[in-house]
């Protein structure tokens, strides 16, 4: 009896601090945000209850849909750009000799760099005057392709996606290498004896065995892309003319630049809803594919 009491006391003391901190800073804000979404409020003074008006306005705002579309471009760019490249590289980097470990470290390196620095460096790389991109294009005679990469609305979303791919490819590579190393070697040996080509082994053994990991990678791409903010904020701030606006920059600009806290809260709530929806949808879609 005394000992169960002791355990109960211990559990309370060990769990409570983390639980309180986590609830207060991570969970409660979600509900708080949904609640504030019902108010017209400038951050100072009176907040006026206006019902669903903010949410309606968000849905009717074309900038919101453009931001969502831009987020989707980043989702697509990271799924198309990160998953296959990381997968290909993982196939080439299965051994752990010195050279291969060096290459892995190089690919993982950007991951530990501050996202602000990533944004600033790539801002220079894309610069129309001093940037490497235009310099390389000029050097190979493609001068007509040079442009102000971050200012041109026809290309700037793709331009800002590339640093994000560069920044985050490392973890995918390491996840895939781990998954490849987990494939029992007997399977490949058996395939070798049957005379399977490298490509056949890839399609019939390696990819199916890695499907779970690939699914995880895709979910990570989706949730990671909705978190995209820092690099784009530093490179373009969402501009010019909101052409690189993301859900997060849209929320930030509305709340902290023009002080519409109620509206910003409504956008915040939408971000959570969209993020949960996308993850659920992707799970359902990929589960179906798995059954076939």
């Amino acid at each position: 009896m005394q000992s169960t009491l002791k355990v109960k006391g211990l559990l309370v003391i060990t769990l409570l601090p983390a639980l309180l901190l986590y609830s207060f800073f991570v969970i409660v804000p979600i509900f708080w945000s949904a609640y504030y979404g019902f108010f017209e409020w400038s951050g100072l003074g009176e907040a006026t209850f206006i019902g669903f008006q903010n949410y309606v306005e968000v849905i009717q705002d074309s900038v919101f849909w453009r931001a969502l579309k831009n987020n989707m471009i980043i989702v697509a760019a990271s799924i198309i750009g990160q998953v296959p490249i990381a997968l290909g590289l993982a196939l080439l980097l299965r051994k752990s000799n010195l050279f291969q470990r060096f290459v892995r470290s190089a690919i993982f390196l950007p991951m530990v760099i501050s996202t602000v620095v990533v944004g600033l460096i790539w801002g220079y790389i894309y610069d129309s005057q001093i940037g490497v991109v235009n310099a390389v294009l000029t050097a190979v005679g493609l001068e007509s392709w040079t442009r102000a990469w971050l200012a041109d609305p026809t290309v700037n979303m793709y331009a800002v996606s590339i640093p994000i791919i560069w920044n985050y490819i490392g973890p995918y590579l390491i996840i895939f290498i781990a998954a490849i190393q987990n494939i029992p070697s007997e399977l490949e040996e058996a395939a070798d004896i049957d005379g399977a080509t490298g490509f056949q082994k890839l399609v019939h053994i390696i990819l199916p065995m890695m499907w779970t990991t690939i699914k995880i990678a895709i979910v990570l791409c989706i949730s990671g892309s909705l978190k995209a903010f820092d690099q784009v904020f530093v490179m373009t701030g969402g501009g010019p003319a909101q052409s690189t606006e993301l859900l997060a920059t849209y929320m930030y600009n509305n709340t902290f630049m023009i002080y519409r806290y109620g509206f910003g809260s409504a956008v915040s709530t939408m971000i959570i809803v969209i993020s949960m929806l996308l993850i659920v949808i992707s799970q359902i879609v990929m589960k179906r594919k798995n059954l076939r």
Partner: protein, 291 residues
């Protein structure tokens, strides 16, 4: 007949070996190019930090002809990097210690005891990994404004820790469950209480997991930008990423100065990476797989 067969066998194995060699060479050239592409922006950053502005424009891609260390000094002063470095250190170290301690404490309860709410709590904590950090900015700002936390170190330490806890708990629980129960039983027979077990046994035995948590948290906090941007206005409290952000418009024409400031901010993380890379890679992957 027989000899013929042998030679054709020899021949094809030779062709295969030659194919292998060519494939390996092409592969290694390709991998080298990829590595250079990944590292080049950082190389360019660090070399540019030591040029003059004139040289940066006339010859942007070569090594500096003379290394101008004065840029670093100037950047240090202009962006008040010394102050920023101190602030970043205070916030990062405190939040890291808090994360490791609270993570270990929670993981101890979740990994060594069975109780009614356990399953719920694990799911509840894991949920945190799915929540986009930006969606909590507005409510956190208003909440912290209400209790007067804005523009204090706590405005960063507390939310940093709260958002990192799910990963810390997940990594530590996974490790602690592998520690054999018999050790605990032996300690109880020797007269240790639960706290004794936690401090004298679980903490020291979990050092590998806890150091992974510490390194990951450190990197994340050192580089964190959004919370600092919103919760810190007082320029004497700015962290490194925040003081770098002034270069995104204010000083954009003084390129080498910006490069120098960025170099100062980036070097500690690169050094840390070079020392702990295996642990960082494994930890980040384990942490992100659940997120």
């Amino acid at each position: 007949m027989k000899t013929n067969l042998l030679t054709s066998d020899d021949h094809s194995s030779l062709v295969n070996r030659l194919k292998d060699i060519i494939f390996t060479v092409i592969k290694n050239i390709f991998l080298t190019i990829i590595s250079l592409l990944m590292v080049y922006p950082l190389y360019w950053l660090i070399t540019s930090a030591f040029k003059t502005n004139d040289e940066f424009f006339s010859d942007p891609y070569s090594l500096p002809s003379t290394w101008v260390f004065e840029n670093i000094v100037r950047a240090w002063e202009v962006a008040d990097l010394g102050r920023a470095m101190i602030n970043s250190t205070i916030v990062t170290v405190s939040a890291t210690l808090l994360t490791v301690f609270l993570g270990a404490l929670t993981a101890y309860a979740l990994s060594r005891f069975t109780f009614k709410l356990k399953g719920f709590l694990i799911v509840f904590f894991l949920l945190g990994m799915l929540i986009p950090i930006h969606s909590t900015l507005v409510p956190l700002f208003t909440m912290m404004n209400l209790v007067g936390l804005l523009d204090t170190y706590w405005a960063l330490i507390l939310p940093y820790t709260a958002f990192e806890l799910p990963i810390a708990i997940f990594l530590t629980v996974a490790y602690m469950t592998t520690i054999p129960k018999e050790l605990e039983e032996a300690a109880i027979i020797d007269g240790s209480g639960y706290w004794g077990i936690f401090f004298k046994m679980m903490l020291p035995l979990s050092v590998p997991a806890l150091s992974t948590v510490a390194i990951l948290s450190f990197l994340r906090y050192w580089n964190e930008f959004v919370f600092a941007l919103v919760f810190i206005n007082d320029s004497s409290l700015k962290t490194l990423p925040l003081s770098l952000a002034i270069f995104s418009d204010g000083f954009s024409t003084d390129y080498v100065l910006t490069m120098a400031a960025m170099t100062v901010a980036v070097v500690p993380t690169i050094v840390m990476y070079l020392i702990f890379q295996e642990q960082i890679m494994k930890g980040m992957v384990a942490g992100s797989v659940k997120g």
